[in-house]
Amino acid sequence: MSVLLFELSLTLYFAATIVSVVELFKGTKTTSNFILVFAIGGFALHTATILARYAAAGHLPITSLHEASSFFAWCIVLIFFFLEYRYRVDLLGPFTMPVVFVLMLSSSILPREIKPLSPVLQSYWLGIHTFLAFLGDAAFATAFGVGIMYLIQEHHLKTKRLGGLFQRLPNLQILDEINYKLITLGFPLLTLAIITGALWAESAWGSYWRWDPKEVWSLITWFIYALVLHARLTAGWRGRKAAMLSIVGFISVIFTFFGVNLLLKGLHAFV
């Protein structure tokens, strides 16, 4: 059942991504509405998938890379809806839905079986720590999309070539503002995730911090976003620099998420 739901929601996200590409090349009111409709449909089925798996496993389904990618994507769509509702800026779909689709696609090719949870991990921290971490990462993922939008629009304005997406991309100020808001949302979430992670590690393994690769990379990510916020407040690093840093930050997020698991071995190896 949850397999079917998963495939269906993947298909709908795929549709949203295809329409997103169309939107980029010849967008109309209809295409952006279609993206929203497909995203809503995909999200509903996706939620059902997660609930079904929750029921089967007995805990939040984020203990395999398959589940984690899917949950990551779910959080991004959640934030996408929030931004659509709050700002209604054009072309947001084409710069977020492909990320969602890629995450779902990687989720779909990863092993799906539910493995029994090791006793040390059976804790209420599981839900809290991971939810905070994923929501934070999702905020960074959307900040990445918005950052790219900013850089494209800024490039148009600087080079004075006003064809392409110039007319339909939102203004620089709003893009910069959304980018900043998303990072100010993601940063405390990441901070809390690191703190709750430390607390959980203490109760599970008896020490707060063990320099495990995931911990290290989370810290690196944390420093990058701390720099984004700090430079903005003190040196006025807004606009292009902020957008570029949010892209660098997201690369670090992705590496922390996939790279550490696939390339390095550590305590977080399960996710």
Binding site: L157, K160, R161, L169, N171, L172, Q173, I174, A235, R238
Partner: protein
């Protein structure tokens, strides 16, 4: 049944000719009344704008109607017929429909895509409607025209992209800032160009205006006019720290703002974006400033470039618009053709009805003893025979075929329909 467009526009006539031919104020009512009573003119609309004067009419004989309208124009405006004829164009039927569609969709305008023409056309139509100088054909044409123009507006991006320098500047500002009315802007130099640009910005909602001019008094005058404040020219750098948009036209022979100065300003204003428009020639602002983060500098050539790209963009969209129009002409043509066959269908029906009546009367007179039931049965039979006989030609007439006029003529000949209906054609 012919639709005729006679007129002139900015391409065929100079402004001197156009203004002489304009139907402004009282002239429109007089002109329209005179025009609609001329022989051979069934319906008429006059469209008169600063770029065109056109007469849309429904006429019986297009060849003679052209002369009639031309003579009317020359008489009404006191112009020489020969001079007039050089500027006039004439479109008949399908071409006339295309012309009206193109005019309303702003494809025939001096600035392609400008939106006013549709409103002007609507006004002209409503005026004629009020004066009862239109009928079934022009009413339908105008309604169709309005819907075509709207379709072009929504399905193409012909009206997007600014095509004047000051509007281009505003559009750029809108792509840099969200809350334009909240932004402050500064005029460097109080020249005429700066004043025009400033008025545009104020029109678009910018409220806080600062004027910095070398002659302080002149600056004060302009500031008063724009509802802003004046500052000493030497202080402009200091003001720039709190200014989001700068329009510069000082007429100075060298740069008045250098990269290093702007760099300091940006640091002081914590890198908040600045949009600078340098409309002075030679340039007054160091072009290197555009390389600074969060500073967007456009000079006259840049703005001109933006305008030219936009014009090209509109031309591309105009092609899409032409396709839409071609489609719509076809559907209007179908309607006109069906209008052509209506009198024939009516004549055919009435002919059949007359024959049926006559024959029934004769028969029933011969057999007066028939009962009610039998009479009904015979009447019923007569009706169904006539109906079935005229059904196929009626269907054929309603169908859309290429040689409709030949079909109409053939059916008339076969069924012997002549007389009044024929004259109406």
């Amino acid at each position: 049944m012919n639709i005729l467009v006679i007129g002139l526009n900015h391409k065929t006539a100079d402004v001197e000719v156009r203004e002489k031919l304009a139907f402004d104020g009282q002239k429109l009512e007089e002109g329209l009344t005179m025009l609609s009573t001329l022989p051979g003119i069934e319906e008429a609309i006059i469209l008169s704008t600063c770029n065109r004067v056109e007469i849309y009419s429904h006429v019986k004989e297009p060849e003679t109607a052209f002369g009639t309208v031309r003579d009317f124009l020359s008489r009404f405006h006191g112009l020489d017929t020969a001079a007039l004829e050089r500027s006039l164009y004439l479109h008949k039927n399908q071409d006339a429909v295309r012309h009206v569609f193109r005019v309303a969709s702003s494809l025939d305008s001096m600035v392609v895509g400008e939106p006013q023409i549709l409103g002007q056309l609507k006004d002209a139509f409503e005026f004629a409607l009020g004066k009862k100088t239109t009928g079934i054909l022009l009413n339908r044409l105008m309604k169709k025209t309005i819907s075509v123009a709207k379709r072009v507006r929504t399905e193409t991006r012909i009206a997007e992209n600014a095509v004047s320098i000051s509007f281009a500047a505003f559009e750029l500002a809108r792509k840099i800032f969200t809350d334009l009315p909240e932004k402050s802007f500064m005029l460097l130099g109080a020249g005429e160009m700066a004043e025009i640009a400033a008025k545009h910005m104020i029109n678009f909602g910018v409220k806080k205006v600062i004027v910095a001019n070398r002659t302080y008094e002149r600056g004060c005058d302009l500031a008063k006019e724009l509802n802003g404040t004046a500052v000493k020219f030497e202080d402009f750098l200091h003001e720039a720290v709190h200014t989001d948009i700068i329009i510069c036209s000082t007429g100075a022979p060298t740069y008045v703002l250098h990269k290093e100065e702007m760099q300091r300003v940006m640091k002081e204003r914590k890198q908040k974006p600045v949009f600078i428009i340098d409309i002075s020639v030679p340039r007054n602002i160091d072009p290197g400033i555009n390389d600074l983060d969060n500073v967007y500098l456009y000079d006259v050539d840049d703005l001109q470039g933006v305008v030219e790209t936009n014009i090209l963009e509109r031309k591309k969209e105009a092609e899409k618009a032409e396709n839409i129009i071609a489609e719509e002409i076809e559907s209007f043509q179908k309607w006109m053709l069906s209008l052509d066959s209506v009198p024939t269908v009516v004549a055919l029906r009435s002919k059949a009805e007359t024959i049926k009546k006559e024959e029934l009367e004769r028969l029933l007179n011969k057999f007066p003893s028939l009962g009610e039931k039998e009479r009904k049965a015979i009447e019923h039979m007569a009706s169904s025979i006539t109906n079935k006989l005229i059904h196929p030609p009626t269907v054929a007439l309603r169908e859309d075929t290429e040689d409709k006029d030949i079909l109409i003529a053939t059916i008339k000949k076969l069924y012997g329909i002549n007389g009044d209906d024929d004259k109406k054609q």
